[in-house]
């Protein structure tokens, strides 16, 4: 049973990587866009470039995991090829997990490249014991968020449009480029409700000279993961009842 499910999750993710993710549209959303955005901010007010790195990594996590999820889920639902996956001896939950893992692996690849490039290029020394767990769970959180938005809508363009709302909201409100402490208090409250806040906070902790704990961030990110993943699984199952 478990073996069947794990096998299908792996093969679904691997197939999506090949057919959807490792293609120009996903790569440009997942890596080029966050890099260009960060560079634009740097050029506008050149200060310490190092300060922008945690935000760049967080943005790469967000945009790479969600780059193609609307396509892998909505497009396949429309064509009926997602249905075909459900003909195999697996549950709808595992099919959804396979889709989430596709986004996760692609995000991991993009984020690792960006992180390695900047860390080595700028000779930074992040605390890997903080950076890796925060990074991994964040990849799962945002991949699940993309999956949830995809199963909520019928069409690819609807899912993509509505996914842009939380994506851009988070880019502005979660401390990616503007520090949260500099925002009006009601925006600060809002930022507490957005998962990217904890990703940025955790990654900043990993890059800061003074070691600080990221367990609060990890815990809250785990809560967000459940809030996105479980309803997404339920919604997909509902479609086939």
């Amino acid at each position: 049973m478990i073996r069947d499910d794990l096998r299908c999750i792996y093969h679904i993710a691997a197939k999506d990587m090949r057919t959807y993710y490792l293609k120009p549209p996903a790569v440009s959303w997942g890596m080029v866009f966050p890099a260009a955005w960060t560079l634009a901010f740097y050029l506008r007010s050149p200060s310490n470039f190092d300060d922008l790195i945690p935000g760049l990594i967080a943005m790469t996590i967000l945009f790479s995991t969600t780059a193609a999820e609307a396509v892998v889920i909505n497009f396949e639902l429309r064509l009926g090829s997602l249905e075909r996956l459900l003909l195999a001896p697996v549950s709808a939950e595992s099919v959804l997990l396979g889709k989430v893992m596709g986004g996760f692996f692609f995000g991991l690849l993009m984020t690792s490249m960006v992180t390695l490039g900047t860390v080595l290029g700028l000779d930074l020394h992040p605390d890997l014991l903080v950076l890796i767990p925060v990074g991994l769970i964040s990849l799962l959180v945002f991949s699940s968020m993309g999956a949830l938005f995809s199963v909520l809508f019928k069409e690819v363009f609807e899912a993509q449009t509505f996914l842009n709302l939380p994506r851009f909201l988070m880019v502005f409100l979660c401390g990616v480029v503007y520090p949260i402490s500099a925002m009006p208090w009601w925006l600060q409250q809002t930022s507490q409700l957005l998962p990217l806040t904890y990703t940025v906070e955790g990654i900043r902790a990993a890059f800061s000279a003074a070691p600080s704990s990221s367990s609060k961030d990890l815990l809250l990110l785990a809560v967000f993961l459940m809030l996105f993943l479980l309803p997404a699984m339920r919604m997909l199952r509902k479609r086939f009842e």
Binding site: H11, G80, A88, P89, V90, F240
Partner: protein, 322 residues
């Protein structure tokens, strides 16, 4: 033994009943057809039997596994060809088969072999490296059937296997289905083509508005059409004026003219009818040119059983297909 046992299966969509309490058995090794016009509930029935849709009421056993509790087990042993060919456009024929084999857990060393075997059997070997998206409708359909067979299932579900195909492609696909039948696979197929059901199926369930109105062999169904014998007679010259004399020689039979020299004779005692026709021809020197006994077609049976016009079967669903 029964491969499939369906009992009181019902599917409702927001109050609309698409499948209305159907029951039937499919024997191991037979080709069983669900024949009905568009919208009669064929696809909905198949979707419930393969675990893509949950029955509102009723249940079924597939190879002894209960639909509600053992569907995952059953899925290992069934192959499904949906009504549209929904493999991956971006993958080649071979890659599509290998991917399906992986999903079903076919051991690594068997996957290639199995894919190659199927590509050859389905006449797609030359095109194995070409993307599915570039295939013709007939080739797509064939590969979709091949994909349903990679894990060597015991039961194959085929939803409208030849819909939207040209005559040649449809015929070659029917031959493939016959081959699978000969190899002992249990096949349940849906169709709204009467000839297809007649040609391929050992037994047929006629489905109308979500209900099974008859289950029988094609021959059995045809017996419903007309229990009376039907004979078609052609003469060498006009006989319309002599109808009175002819009727007098054929007690209990009904004579209907098709044109001046051709008629059908329904009913009566067959040997007396034939004798009467020969004498009639000789006495009037009509030059009897042909005499045929007409077997009722499945279409006649369908009309008689369902009360529907056969044109309801000709209506294609717009747009979708291939």
């Amino acid at each position: 033994m029964n491969a499939i046992e369906v009992r009181g299966l019902i599917k409702r969509f927001d109050g609309f009943t698409a499948v209305d309490g159907i029951s039937f058995d499919v024997k191991e090794g037979e080709v069983f057809g669900l024949l009905g016009p568009n919208g009669s509930g064929k696809t909905t029935t198949i979707r419930m039997l393969v675990g893509l849709s949950r029955p509102t009421e009723g249940g079924a056993k597939i190879l002894g596994f209960d639909l509600s509790s053992g569907i995952t087990e059953a899925k290992r042993k069934i192959g499904v060809v949906p009504d549209s060919s929904n493999l991956y456009d971006e993958l080649s024929a071979r890659e599509n088969l290998l991917f399906m084999a992986k999903l079903y857990g076919v051991p690594k060393d068997l996957r290639e072999e199995r894919a190659e075997e199927l590509l050859k059997a389905f006449g797609l070997y030359q095109r194995r490296y070409d993307r599915f998206g570039t295939f013709s409708r007939g080739m797509k359909r064939a590969l979709t059937i091949a994909a349903a067979l990679v894990h060597d299932p015991k039961v194959l579900f085929l939803d409208e296997p030849t819909v939207g195909l040209d005559v040649v492609a449809a015929r070659s696909l029917r031959n493939l289905i016959s081959d699978l039948h000969r190899k002992g696979l249990t096949i349940i197929l849906t169709t709204h083509y009467l000839e297809e059901a007649d040609h391929l199926c050992d037994r047929i369930a006629i489905l109308v508005k979500g209900e099974v109105v008859a289950v029988d062999t094609p021959q059995g169904l045809k017996r419903y059409a007309d229990e009376r014998s039907v004979i078609e007679v052609s003469f060498g010259r006009e006989v319309a004026g002599l109808v009175g004399d002819l009727s007098a020689r054929l007690p209990g039979a009904e004579v209907v003219f098709l044109d001046e020299a051709r008629m059908t004779v329904r009913g009566g005692d067959p040997s007396r009818v034939l004798e009467g026709i020969f004498e009639f021809s000789k006495d009037h020197d009509l030059g009897l040119s042909a005499i045929n006994s007409i077997r009722p077609s499945l279409e006649d049976a369908f009309v008689r059983i369902t009360g529907l016009s056969p044109t309801v079967m000709a209506r294609e669903k717009g747009g979708k297909g291939g």
